[in-house]
Structure formats: C-alpha cells, structure tokens
Amino acid sequence: MRRLFALVALLAVAGCGDDATVSGDGGKPQIVVSAASSMKEALTACAPNFPDAGVRLQFAGSDELAAQIRQGVPVDVFAAANTKLPDALAQEGKLGEPVTFATNRLVLAVPADGKVDSLRALERPGVTLVVGAEGVPVGDYTRAVLAHLGPDRSKAVLANVRSNEPDVKGIVGKLTQGAADAGFVYASDVKATNGDLRAIELPAELKPTATYGAGVVKAAKQPDAAEAFVDDLLAGGCHKALLGAGFGEP
C-alpha cells in the first residue's frame, strides 16, 4: 500500500514538473495559492505578473480551503477573508505567522432594478435574502453585523433567508439571476458585477469591515516564493490589484 502511495506521489510530482516546463517558466518555481472567493478578480489579474514564481490560484470559501489545509492538501499560501481561520491554522501549527493584508466592507447587494432599497426593507416579510452559510467568513460577518441590529430586527431579517450559500460567488450568482431580492456580500463583489448589482452601504455602527489575513502554509513546497507572495499581498502588485478591486488598506 505504502509503495502504491509513493508511486502515485511520484507521478503527481512528475506531473507538476512537466507543467512547469511546458509553461516555459524556465527555473521559476510554482506555488499554489488558496484564496477566498472574494479575491478572485483581483488575484487572477495580478498573479501572472508576480515575478518570483508561477502562481496557481484556487478559490473557494475560506473555511473549505482551511479544511483542505487541515487535511494535508499541499498548498503554499493561504489567503482568507478573515483573520480567524489563519490564526486558528497558525495555532494548530499548519500555518506560519499570519499577516493582515487588506480589508473589505460587507454591503447589502441588490439587483440594480430591485425592490429592496434599504436595510429596513429586509425586515419585511416576503423579501427573499441570500447569505453565506455559517462558518463561511461572509456568512459569519453577516450574522455578526446583523447581531448589532439587536435581537428583534436581526431575527426579522434572518427569517427572510432563503439560501445559505457555500461561498460569496453563490450569493452574487443568485442575485444576478434574479433568484433573490438581496444578499450580503463584500463591496468588491458588487464592483465586479459591473453594474448588475448595486451596493447599499451599512452604517458604521454595525461594524461591517472585514479584515483579510494570509500566511505561508507550513507544509509549503516553496516557502521562499510563498513568503514573497505574502509580501506581494501586503505591499506589491497584488496589493495594488486588491485596492483597485475595491478592497481597503488593513
């Protein structure tokens, strides 16, 4: 059995090696970056320009990505939509010291021609709302923000939830398809829809700011290039791309 695993692992490694040669990167290392879905547009744009390594991006809900890292999926960098998951992974010894590299704002997203025009309107019965599932950062932020409304208003809003989506793209998809009246997503997600969705800003007392954290995975095959990519998120081309996509400074 162990020999079979070794064989499979060897084939996998050989496969990766082939990829690097085919893509013509010469001696450049390849790193795998697991990033929260909300950063898809920004990171897809900046990753090809990262000088130190070829970057393979994989996007999903941060919690799914963290679970993959716990299960030993070999990635080099973990960039999450909160600081809770990187901190937890660091405590478990799976991730190096995490850094905060960007912020995002939770907003109420509505279709451009939709019937919801305020946070208040969400409390009306019959309004359909789509949110992130519990455990997914956007879902946890949403519940935290709603908790600041007080128990009665928060309950009225949550009673209108019709779907708990596994990541932020699922929420955006339901809204752009007209399947729901409103959803809680990040400001950058609304910006990425190019006008299909409109953002209703949340009042500051609801604390709608999300802080993004990243770190080098302990099992990283390319720790140096991974470290350089985290620095790029902090201050390099990818940091600029994030700001351009609607993210804020940490």
Partner: protein, 262 residues
Amino acid sequence: MSGWFGVLLAVALAAALTFLTLPVVAIFAQQPPGDLVSALGEEGALDALWLSLRTTAAAVLLILVVGTPAAYLLATRRFRGRAGLVTLIELPLVLPPAVAGIALLAAVGPSTLLGRAAQDAGLQLTLATAGVVVALTFVAAPFYLRQAIAAFEAVDATLLDASRTLGASPARTFARVAIPTALPGLVAGTALALGRALGEFGATLMFAGSFQGVTQTVPLAIYDRFATDFTAALALSAVLVAVSAAILLSVKLVRGPDAVAR
C-alpha cells in the same frame, strides 16, 4: 494467462480495486461508528435526509410516469429523426452538473419568461423545494429513459402483435404485455435514476440554493459540514454510501450478474 502478462493483469486489477475501494472504506474507518450514528442525530442531518428522500421520490415518480410511455414510443416506432431524438434525450447524461445548473437557470430561472410564468402561477422554483425536484428530474431522467428504451426494444415484437391479434387495445398491450416483459430493465433504470438523483449536487446548489429543510439535500449538507463538522460530513456520506450500495445491489438482483456491465 501465465507469465508476465498475467502478472500485469493482476497488478492492474489490484491497483484499480485499491483506488476505488480505499476512499469508500475510509469514510467508515476515520471515525468510530458510534460517532457517525450520533452525528446523524443532529437535526439538520435528519432534515437533509428527509428532504433528499422526498425530492428523490418525487423526481423518480415524475420520471416513471412520463418516461415510461415516452420510452415505449421511441422503442417501438421507427421514424425519421428518431436517433437524433434519442441523442437529445441522453444529452443530460454527460452534461457536467454545473452546466445543468446554468442551463436550468437560463431556461426556467426567475429572470426568464417561463420562470416568471411559473412564479405567476404560484409555482416557485428557485430557492424552493420544487426547484430541487426539477434539478433532480433533469439530471436523472436520461438514466431511466436510456434503460427503458433498451428494455422495450428487447421485448419480442411478436408478443406485442399476438396481444393485438387477440383483441387487446394498444393501451392494454402496453400495460399488460410490454411493461411486465420489460420490467427487469425498467427496474434497473429506476435504480440508476434513484442513485443519480440522490447524489445530485451542482445543479441543485446553483438552481435551488441551499437551505435546511427546504433545498439542502444530503450532498449539499455534506458540503456545508465539510469545513465546520467533518464527522457529521462523514456520517452523512456513510448513509449515502449505504443507500447507493443498496441500490446497486438491487439492480444486480433484478438483472442478474451482468446488470452493471450493460
């Protein structure tokens, strides 16, 4: 079979067996059985199981009621464009689930004419249980239709002719001769459709969403728990493995040992 070739075949079989059974065995081996059972006691897990059973039953019922006569027509009549029709019907069989989800949204989603008409008629599809049934029916129907067409084609035409000659109406011939003769094939098709509907994930999530007790079927509940409660995800997976194995076994019993090869 002797010599190096025999060894090669044996090694290939051993590799295939290990690769295919190890992940399934691991579902049961990672946690003590007691933990799996108690994880199933959680309210959301039972909701998901109950919803999966209801929506799968509804979808398969729809498939049987519409699919059986449709398959009979395709199997017993020869007309121009028949092969094309069969191919069209079989297409969802090879469509990726995500494509099925997008296709359903594009056809009967809330921003389409059909979707709006359904909504006006009081039939909510997206983010509703009815939407789950639509998604399951769409992906599972071809599995039944394919088998049913083959089963009806295999019915000896002289049997049907004899029934007609003896004075039975076409409807009676269909119900009393064709269906009983083709029954093993129809049952096998039903089982395949059941298995596919139970396991549906992508189209359901995209078209119907995920909400406990309304649209969150077992596969969606597994994905929902993957990150937060791996034991619960394993427990629900174990249930699906058991049900799927039961379905496969019933196909074998009905069709004989060659069933799965067909």
